[in-house]
């Protein structure tokens, strides 16, 4: 497009959006909307203009005008809510942390760390960028929590306010502990190596025995914290699984560690040598490194949200005395509440008064709002679009339909995955074989040279300690997760890769998953519209905030806009106005044509009346994601594909060619039906991957082996799941799934390598020749080889398969 056509079109200096034909000009700068201009003005008047220099167009645009914003954060004045949110409050100074999904660039960090220039009461603020979190210390006598939030909202950094999440602080504590363990193990390993090194040199026997004693006892001291602190998890989990009669990979590790330690201690006490403490500490160090490498987390993403983080913290209750803000836990059945524009319905309720126009996009993925009349029942989870409505609460939050579904099986995790993993299958055989070899060697030496019997037995256990084996999975899957993360596919943990590999059946949700959540295809049925008529329709639509009008406005061909007079919007009916002196009505069939709906129309329609007659109607159809057909075709070769949709059958004809089989297309499925469908599949031995997006999939996502959520904005709310896929990457889903198979092959090859090392090591051990130097070389070498092989081959194959 040339500049000639659109001379006045500039990009907004704040957010970088196109300003359209009529930009708002302030101090010679162009803005796309009043919101952006206000922020710019505010920052400039506070000498914060540098915000616009660190990065180009750093600002955040907020589309929705918020006329009732003054009441929006009322609940932050409630003491019980304040107490929950504040990290610390004493002597007039408070500290709070906010999750702000809008944080995205260096300018954001700069601005949020300079909040004190906007308000003097802010003492200090610091941003944690990976977590998208800002922590603010402020004087609460001069600025209330509510004012602080309103200030953040005024510069368009709207915090997402949730009661403090306990699990989150716990998670950061475990990473800290792991780091500490790695550090201590590394320290001990390196120092122990120094003390052991002289023993490995030729002429080590010449060393004064006093030195040998000193070095021995020093390494003994160094290995104590390693064994009892750093490696404690391995003993614990080995013990735990033993109690459940399971042989896990941790058992041979624990056995090896104990044998190493006892054998070495005996060596020192009996003055025969200084033992294997270097191997012992090195082993633990490598194992912990593996654990740390595998444990990468996407800190700003949350995979385990409970319903509390979705619903608001407080609601406006209408009491006899008037409006009152109460925490959501205090909401009871029978309460009357007020739900304003863009607020969530917190509990199942009936409408008392007001025009309800409810957007269930978080629930179903369908963005076109549903209008409801007084007396109608509404489910919790919808978002009101339009003026405020009054509701009578029917059920408490915990008992609402969706929350119940959500809570049905809160923890499916952690009980079974440990059993099924390939590593544990391998380790079962491994442990049994190693112990038999050790026994066989001991028995053999008992008859030939009984002094060597015990030594041979312990040697086998020492050298066979499956360090390399245990590192295979963390490094292969850890690298795979990193590759996936770089491409917009985020996994909750490394176990998910193996579960994806075992998937036999893929179940899709329709709306918002394989279709675009925000845009739909618009078709006009009726007499062909003239360009002038299209321009008139667009002009009228521009005045309405209804999502259908917005879609029409953006989908219809661009052109000049006309002035509209007598604009009226009749909720749940339509809009009308006069353009160029010509009357236009648009909206439901009943509103435009006067006819009652004869038969229930399956598709969303907007009827148009211009001047004297009805011209026809716009039809809204789902817009399928790019690459859907290719992805489905590809997936079909390996998986059973199913579709479960909460929608009606209108799309059956379009989807049949893709899914081939009628039986696999299921429409009109309620959230509980979806859950039951998955349960049924899994009861028949299918390992399912559920792909969904909304709250109505929450039950199915949790029930399936792997729940995958497709999100347009990954930092927005997503139901609890195992993986999050960026919506734009939908077309690569088959490649991701295929890559899990490559990962698995790499795991198996790495297993082979570590077995080879073990065979070499055990041949030394059974012949009674395992000296500390062989252990000191062989054990780290095998670990390093496996780690290098796993990481490099994952990288190479990822590059090869163009992931």
């Amino acid at each position: 497009m040339t500049d000639q056509n659109k001379p006045s079109n500039k990009t907004c200096i704040h957010c970088g959006d196109d300003c359209g034909k009529h930009p708002i000009i302030w101090e010679d700068k162009a803005f796309c909307c009043n919101g952006c201009q206000t922020v710019y003005q505010l920052l400039h008047s506070n000498q914060l203009g540098q915000y616009y220099e660190i990065e180009k167009v750093p600002g955040i645009k907020i589309d929705l005008p918020e006329p009732e914003a003054s009441e929006k954060f009322d609940f932050l004045d409630l003491p019980e809510i304040k107490e929950k949110l504040l990290d610390f409050s004493d002597g007039g100074i408070s500290k709070v942390r906010f999750f702000i999904p809008g944080i995205h660039c260096a300018s954001c960090i700069w601005l949020l760390e300079n909040l004190h220039s906007l308000h003097r009461a802010v003492i200090q603020s610091s941003v944690n960028f990976p977590k998208k979190e800002v922590s603010i210390t402020f004087k609460d006598a001069q600025i209330s929590l509510r004012q602080l939030v309103e200030m953040l909202a005024s510069i368009h950094y709207v915090p997402e306010i949730n009661p403090k999440d306990q699990s989150e602080t716990k998670a950061s504590k475990t990473t800290r502990t792991l780091l500490l363990k790695v550090g201590i193990a590394g320290f001990s390993f390196l120092n122990a190596m120094i003390y052991h090194f002289p023993q490995y040199l030729p002429g080590a026997n010449e060393l004064e025995s006093g030195f040998r004693q000193l070095f021995g006892w020093l390494s003994f001291g160094l290995s104590i914290p390693v064994l009892f602190y750093c490696a404690s998890d391995y003993f614990l989990s080995a013990w735990k699984s033993l109690k459940q009669k399971i042989i896990s990979i941790d058992l041979p590790i624990a056995l090896g560690l104990i044998t190493l330690f006892t054998q070495s201690t005996i060596d020192i006490v009996s003055h025969t040598g200084i033992g294997y403490f270097d191997s012992l500490t090195g082993l633990v160090f490598f194992l912990l490194i593996g654990k740390w490498y595998q444990g990468i987390t996407y800190e700003a993403l949350t995979f385990e949200r409970n319903y509390k983080s979705y619903f608001p913290v407080a609601v406006t209750k209408l009491g006899e005395t008037g409006k009152e803000t109460i925490p959501i836990e205090q909401l009871k059945a029978g309460d009357r509440i007020l739900v304003r524009n863009q607020e969530l319905i917190p509990a199942d309720a009936t409408i008392v008064s007001g025009q309800a126009n409810i957007d269930y996009s978080f629930v179903t993925g369908e963005s076109i709002p549903v209008s409801k009349q007084t007396g109608d029942f509404v489910f919790a989870g919808g978002r009101q679009a339009g003026s405020a409505i009054e509701l009578l609460v029917q059920k408490e939050v915990e008992q609402s339909y969706l929350t119940q579904l959500w809570n049905q099986n809160p923890e499916k995790a952690d009980d079974e995955p440990k059993l099924s993993g390939i590593i544990n299958k391998v380790s079962q055989y491994f442990t049994i074989i190693i112990i038999s070899i050790a026994l066989a060697a001991a028995i053999y030496w008992q008859f030939t040279n009984s002094s060597k019997a015990i030594f041979a037995f312990t040697s086998v256990l020492i050298i066979a300690c499956p360090c390399a084996l245990a590192l295979t999975i963390p490094f292969t899957f850890g690298s795979t997760m990193r590759q996936f993360g770089r491409k917009g596919f985020y996994l909750k943990n490394a176990d998910v890769i193996e579960k994806l590999y075992r998937t036999t059946t893929v179940v899709f949700d329709k709306t918002g998953t394989i279709t675009h959540a925000q845009s739909s295809r618009v078709q006009f049925e009726g007499k062909l519209l003239k360009p002038e008529q299209i321009a008139m329709i667009r002009s009228l639509c521009k005045h309405s905030s209804h999502p259908l009008s917005k879609t029409l406005f953006s989908q219809l061909e661009e052109g000049d806009l006309f002035e509209v007079t007598d604009f009226t919007e009749l909720p749940s009916l339509g809009i009308s106005g006069t353009v160029n002196g010509i009357k236009i009505n648009m909206g439901s069939r009943f509103f435009v044509t006067g006819q009652k709906d004869g038969q229930k129309e399956l598709k969303t329609q907007v009827w148009v009346f211009i001047e004297t007659k009805v011209l026809g109607h716009f039809q809204f159809e789902n817009n399928y994601r790019e690459g859907l057909k290719e992805t489905i075709d590809e997936l079909e070769q390996h998986y059973d594909l199913h579709l479960i949709s909460g929608d009606n059958e209108s799309e059956r004809a379009n989807l049949l060619p893709l899914f081939k089989d009628h039986a696999r297309l299921n429409f009109n499925q309620s959230p509980t039906d979806k859950l039951a469908y998955i349960k049924n599949l899994q009861a028949n031995g299918k390992s399912t991957l559920m792909i969904g997006d909304g709250l109505n999939d929450a039950g199915a996502l949790m029930e399936s082996k792997v729940g995958l959520v497709i999100a347009d904005n990954i930092y927005n709310f997503t139901p609890a799941c195992d993986a999050i896929l960026q919506a734009g990457k939908f077309g690569q889903l088959d490649r991701f799934l295929r890559f899990t198979r490559t990962s698995m092959t790499i795991v198996k090859l790495s297993f082979a390598i570590s077995f080879l090392y073990n065979i070499v090591g055990i041949s030394f051990a059974v012949s009674g020749n395992l000296s500390p130097i062989i252990a000191a070389i062989l054990m780290p070498l095998s670990s390093v080889t496996v780690v290098a092989f796993a990481t490099f081959s994952v990288r190479l194959s990822a590059a090869k398969s163009m992931l």
Partner: protein, 66 residues
């Protein structure tokens, strides 16, 4: 040769100091966010050192200092 005994002990003590420093750093949360500080260091210390606001800044600060 017996000086080696002393040196070895000194060696481990020095190493222990670093270990303690590491433990302190982890405990105080210095490894919690390893990304943001890398950006923070690039910012100018004082706000409004940028060109557009310089005159205003000078006006503001002068009366205070004199």
């Amino acid at each position: 040769m017996s000086v080696l005994f002393v040196l070895v002990i000194i060696g481990i003590l020095v190493a222990a100091v670093f270990l303690i420093a590491f433990i302190w750093a982890v405990r105080s949360g210095q490894f919690d966010d390893t990304y943001t500080p890398s950006i923070r260091i690039l910012f100018d210390d004082h706000i409004s050192s940028d060109t557009t606001d310089e005159p205003q800044e000078k006006l503001k600060s002068k009366p205070k200092s004199t």
